[in-house]
């Protein structure tokens, strides 16, 4: 039994507001600049505000609410201790331009975090500056440019991505000015080495890949792929969104990747915050090190410094040094888990995924396209359900909501029809996995009408997203 809380919560500006006072600003402000129209914000009391957001919060599903196996997103439990530590004034109330002697603790944390990430990925150096995965990708593309330019090969204008790639990969590449070439996968769901070999050439700047890929399949030909890419003078980029599958088992650096981004808000348990802040550190091989953003944290004797002393650096990709509280949480997480714990996390993440996959397949309602052994996630197709009963992946997602669990990612990767992409992570118990499996399979047997009309137990019924785009209403004033 599950029902979400429902409140018909008014907008903040519909709550009772105290009268707005007339502006009485200082005379010395130039009259062209002084605010004339009064500000238009409600004047509320704490009680009203607390209740408003309290009600809204109860109409929102988080990892704390229940299992959240959103494929590719690695929604694992966010340890509470990390929230506490990152909230200490000593960490959160410091200014980026404070004298270095007064921020040695944070600089040490950043320095050591880089060392940890280097060890985990096998890369040569790291930048902690990017604010998210896509931001890391963009930095990666800028580094790629700088690298080829430094070798007088600015005519490398293409970036290759597999057809299973996450949308940010092509978007980042083209934002950096590259042409994006899409590589079709084999029937096994992996990179087609032959096609890659044919596609790649001296116009190729980079091949972007995640391994395991977004089907959860490990690219076993990775050695061969790396050889082909490097032989063509191209770089090989690693989208680290799937790093949770292989910590302590294999390292992108060892696989031949030149650039790596990690999603700390995925693999390293920092909360996703309903959409951020995230952090997407970028690691590179030795040949790219000199291009990394400044400042970089360096250690001299026992002291840490922010150094701008890197002449070939691409400069900055974000103001200051990254989303530091997210870095801190990831640092705490790695400290808590240790090398042994991270390995165990990957092992159980993979075990959980394969366990679910097998159990679901046994029941026969969903198909698994492509190769069988998966890493930390797997993509089902419900195409046959669509054919048989007219039920779509989205319908299944919505009815899962009625059961108090979060649906998988749907319709991604694009090459799978009616895709359900499931990533349980290692922080779910067998009990919750079993419940999920049962629920998912039961839905397949349910009455089509019932499923089409779902969800029922959420704060609202099926949301009409199409109407939202027709005449977009984005603010109170547009209602």
């Amino acid at each position: 039994m599950f029902k979400s809380a429902v409140y018909s919560e008014p907008f903040l500006n519909e709550l009772h507001s105290k009268p707005i006072e007339k502006p009485t600003p200082h005379k010395s402000i130039p009259s062209t600049l002084i605010r004339k129209k009064p500000l238009d914000l409600p004047n509320l009391d704490e009680t009203q505000i607390i209740r408003h957001f309290h009600h809204l919060s109860q109409m929102n599903f988080g990892v704390d609410t229940g299992i959240y196996p959103l494929g590719s997103c690695t929604m694992k439990y966010n340890p509470r201790i990390n929230e506490v530590i990152s909230n200490w004034d000593k960490f959160s109330c410091i200014h980026p331009y404070q004298d270095e002697s007064t921020v040695q603790g944070t600089l040490q944390m950043m320095y050591e975090l880089e060392q940890m990430l280097k060890e985990i990925t096998g890369m040569y150096a790291f930048s902690l500056q990017p604010a998210a995965g896509a931001h890391g990708e963009f930095l990666g593309m800028i580094l790629t440019k700088q690298y080829h330019t430094s070798k007088n090969e600015s005519d490398r204008i293409n970036v290759i991505v597999p057809d299973t790639a996450h949308g940010t990969n092509p978007a980042s590449a083209s934002m950096a000015g590259y042409n994006v070439i899409e590589l079709p996968s084999t029937k096994d769901g992996a990179v087609d080495v032959d096609v890659l070999e044919k596609t790649i050439n001296d116009k190729t700047a980079c091949f972007m890949l995640t391994n395991p890929n977004t089907l959860g399949i490990f690219e076993s030909d990775i050695d061969e792929i790396a050889r082909i890419v490097h032989d063509a003078g191209s770089l090989l980029y690693y989208d680290g969104a799937n790093m949770n599958a292989i910590m302590g088992k294999a390292r992108p650096g060892d696989m031949g990747f030149d650039i790596v981004h990690l999603n700390l808000h995925k693999t390293f348990a920092t909360p996703h915050g309903g959409g951020g802040p995230g952090s997407g550190p970028v690691g590179v091989g030795k040949k790219l090190e000199q291009f990394l953003p400044i400042p970089r944290v360096i250690k001299k004797k026992e002291n840490y410094h922010l150094s701008n002393d890197f002449k070939e650096s691409i400069g900055k990709i974000k103001q200051f040094y990254g989303n530091v509280s997210v870095l801190l949480k990831a640092y705490c997480y790695i400290t808590l888990m240790g090398g042994n714990g991270l390995k165990e996390a990957s092992e159980v993440a993979v075990l959980n995924a394969n366990y679910m996959k097998e159990k679901i397949l046994q029941k026969g309602s969903y198909e698994l396209p492509f190769r069988s052994l998966r890493k930390h996630e797997f993509v089902l197709s419900c195409e046959s359900l669509l054919k048989k009963k007219g039920i779509r992946a989205m319908d299944i997602a919505k009815h899962l909501l009625d059961n108090g669990v979060h649906p998988p990612t749907v319709y991604f990767p694009l090459i799978v029809k009616e895709a359900l992409m499931i990533e349980p992570t290692e922080t779910e118990s067998k009990y919750d996995l079993d419940c999920y499996i049962e629920t998912l399979c039961k839905i397949a047997d349910e009455d089509t009408e019932k499923i089409k009309d779902s969800p029922y137990n959420t704060p609202v019924r099926r949301v009409n997203e199409v109407d939202a785009t027709k005449k977009p209403v984005l603010t109170w004033n547009q209602i």
Binding site: I20, L33, R35, T102, A134, G274, F320, T475
Partner: protein
Amino acid sequence: MKFIPNSPLKKQMLKEISLSSIDELFLDIPKSIQINHLDLPDGKSQMETEKHLRILANKNKDCNELLLFTGGGIKPHYIPAVVKSITSRSEFFTAYTPYQSEASQGFLKAMFEYQSMIASITGMDIANCSLYDGATAIGEAALMATRITKKKTFLIPSNLSSEKKSVLMNYGQGADLTIKEFTYDKKTGCINIKNLEKIIDEQCSAVYLEIPNVFGILEKNIDTIETLVHNNNSLLIIGIDPLALGVIQSPGDLGADIVIGEGRNLGNPMDFGGSSLGLFACKSKYIRQMPGRLIGLTHDADENEAFCMTLQTREQHIRRGRATSNICTNEGLCSLAAVSYLSLLGANGLQKLSEENFEKGQYLKEQIIKIDGFSEVFNGIHFNEFVIQSEKNVKEINKKLLKSNIQGGFLLESWFPSLKNTFLFGVTENHTKEDINRFIKVIKGVSNV
């Protein structure tokens, strides 16, 4: 192992899926690249971890211990406890991007309210629900201006902070933007309009300016500039400090087409420069060229009010290589802090806060220039930051201040080599009169020696 409930069940689960060892799950990784362990210490207990982090923390001095008068667009502001109390509701902070709207109505509605409030204070039609930070927002705005105008020259003030300039350069290079600078008036610190007039040409997609600018100065002649820019068929992009909007005209009223800004000030901690929040608002007509996520009002199957992400066809997960931006994860929780913060302030509170920041800025400056050897560099009206020239060595002064647990001004020379021996000072509502007086006393002392 902590956070891994199935650790003790591995054997049983393997058996249920007819496997006999964990290794079998990793057979697809070629032996040649398999590793056996990570060269990291073993996991620590929560208690040990906390003790370890406390040692690190004690190597920092926070802004309760260190009195900070450092400018640069980031300063200690008071954050009411309610803000954290809202953002630490775990339904919010442990959620992903609201892909499943039915299960995310709470966050979606809050983001709709955030958009409404940002639009309202900036005086613009619409706002998105965050970019990474103020600097990347300039980059995104530049790209958007090019998409709208199909022109490729982007004009910025020569006194844009070198950090922001660098970010902008990196954002601009993919679209082959030419970035040109117009100078500032050496007396007022305002824009040198003559120079801008000279530089602007038909290739100009947009002119970017900041209120207050990097010197803390409130630009005087926006109407002239606005006319100039729009007559040139270029866009006017204004960068703001939202906390100034209680006293100054909203950029919308000034004729801006796009408004960006750093929103950390709205209820987020300094976080050593993290916890950033890229504000982004614009005119309705440019909606389809906007970067970032937009939350829209719609209805559910029962015709009840409902919210969802909208115009996703602009975004990378739909449009991929042709998206308006690559942004995916944004700064959601910082936006939630911002909407909580703004609702706590309300119109009256924001106005008072702006006034207080303005007045403390004036007061502090007046006190400093009373001291022998310090003088004001620009005579334009400033908000809560300002530039001071020193006759003595600024580095030395800062070093001495530090001994009294005071962090002095930012040394502007590192951004603008011509501004030798200058401080960029900043002050906010968080500085009490006593704080300011103590600072004045100490700086007087150390600069007299």
